[in-house]
């Protein structure tokens, strides 16, 4: 990465693997489970979180020296809530169809612990540019997990990807369905999301032994 120093590029690359918000930091789980039944929803959510974390980290970093410590949490929450509400209103006015898909997620973004977690852990103590990178990096790390989970859940659960039938038509019995394959409807139900994430963790920690816990 020519633009960024080695330290800075670490801010973006780390959360994609060794410091992943979902699988290592244990943040942002709720939404990862709730909306990943469709790949499209995972992608929309990732883009929204990218925006909120990028802008949010910048704002908090800018005002970090004037926030009174007693109401720190409330200030952070207010910033996120205000950002998300404004995004929602702007979308409703200029991209109405998209906003309808997003309104389900609005509440989930505000309470997404990743956003608050990174404000606390990074933006409050670092400069604006680095906070921005940290926000983007963590949002991407979050997004990768969401997309992997969404990919498997939609593929195995409905036989579609982004709404397009990729395995054949289940009612007319073409493609893979001609051999007796049936969609695993179970994958669409939330408990399977938990198990898929568990499996992702398994793979991740097998490849990087340093992440293994003691018990």
């Amino acid at each position: 990465m020519g633009l960024l120093s080695k330290k800075d590029s670490k801010l973006i690359l780390d959360p994609l693997a060794d410091n992943n918000p979902i699988t290592i930091q244990v943040l942002g789980i709720c939404s990862a489970l709730a909306i990943t039944a469709q790949l499209k929803a995972s992608i929309v959510m990732t883009i929204s979180v990218l925006f909120v974390m990028g802008v949010g980290n910048v704002v908090i970093s800018l005002i970090r020296n004037v926030i009174p410590s007693k109401i720190r949490i409330i200030v952070q929450l207010t910033v996120v809530a205000a950002l998300v509400i404004i995004v929602d209103l702007v979308l409703k006015a200029f991209a109405y169809e998209l906003s309808k898909e997003l309104s389900v997620f609005v509440g989930l973004i505000i309470t997404n612990c990743i956003i608050m977690g990174r404000f606390e852990a990074f933006a409050l103590g670092n400069g604006v540019w680095r906070s921005f990178l940290d926000g983007i990096g963590n949002a991407l790390g979050y997004g990768i997990i969401l997309i992997i989970v969404g990919f498997f859940r939609e593929l195995l659960g409905s036989g579609t990807l982004l709404g397009f039938q990729v395995l054949g038509d289940p009612i007319d019995k073409t493609g893979v369905y001609a051999f007796g394959y049936e969609n695993n409807g179970f994958m669409l139900l939330s408990p399977m999301a938990l198990i898929v994430v568990g499996l992702i963790i398994w793979v991740q920690r097998s490849r990087n032994k340093a992440l293994i816990e003691d018990h």
Binding site: I67, V90, S103, I171, L189
Partner: protein
Amino acid sequence: MEKRTEKNSYTVFFAIIMVIVVGALLAFTASALKERIAENKRIEKQQNILYAMGVNENEGNKANFVSKDKVGESFQKYITNQLIIQEGNESQDDNAYLIDIKKEQESAKSGNARRLPLFIGEKEGKKFYIAPIRGKGLWDAIWAYVAMDENMVVQGAYFDHKGETPGLGANIKERFFMDDFIGEHLMSNGTFKGITVSKSNGDPKNEDKTDNEVDAIAGSTITGDGVTAMIRNELKLYVPYFKNLKN
């Protein structure tokens, strides 16, 4: 000396400033965009009503509405009349489609007579009667526009929801579900039966149109039950009107 940001007076001062700034920002954004948002909602209603009666730009298996710039014209062209039915009396109102069904349902709960909007459309010589209905899904509200002929046989339907699960309950907006309703009978032997979203339908391609049933969506039982209840409770209110039509 205590750091400036630790003092209580500063905390209160900051809090007040923050409330004012955020409050002003949100209020400003909300009011600046209010009209555009209201206009978008109005256009959406028109698109939904036209969709239910088959005026749309469907491609492949995706649902596509008449585009925003053409919808005003199409609405004027295809919707010939708008009625409000209240306690058996009909009145005409060109803004009947703007009536908020949620408010009507709440008002009816406190004992007022329910106002029932009905939109009459015409396409290629055929007459459509479109009713707006509203109900409860698993998480939040669901609503629909159901187009019928004079025998209360469904000609088309559009469903929507506020917060159902993507991939599950949210699929009531997909064509594979909505198209199933086309041709379904609401009446059976002169009595109103509605349409039941059923798991034991045994008819996945929905070829039997007089069974008063439609195939359910796997994993969305409660949303499906909500659709069934909504159709039954709301469309039943229109039965007297259709009976009068026959006479």
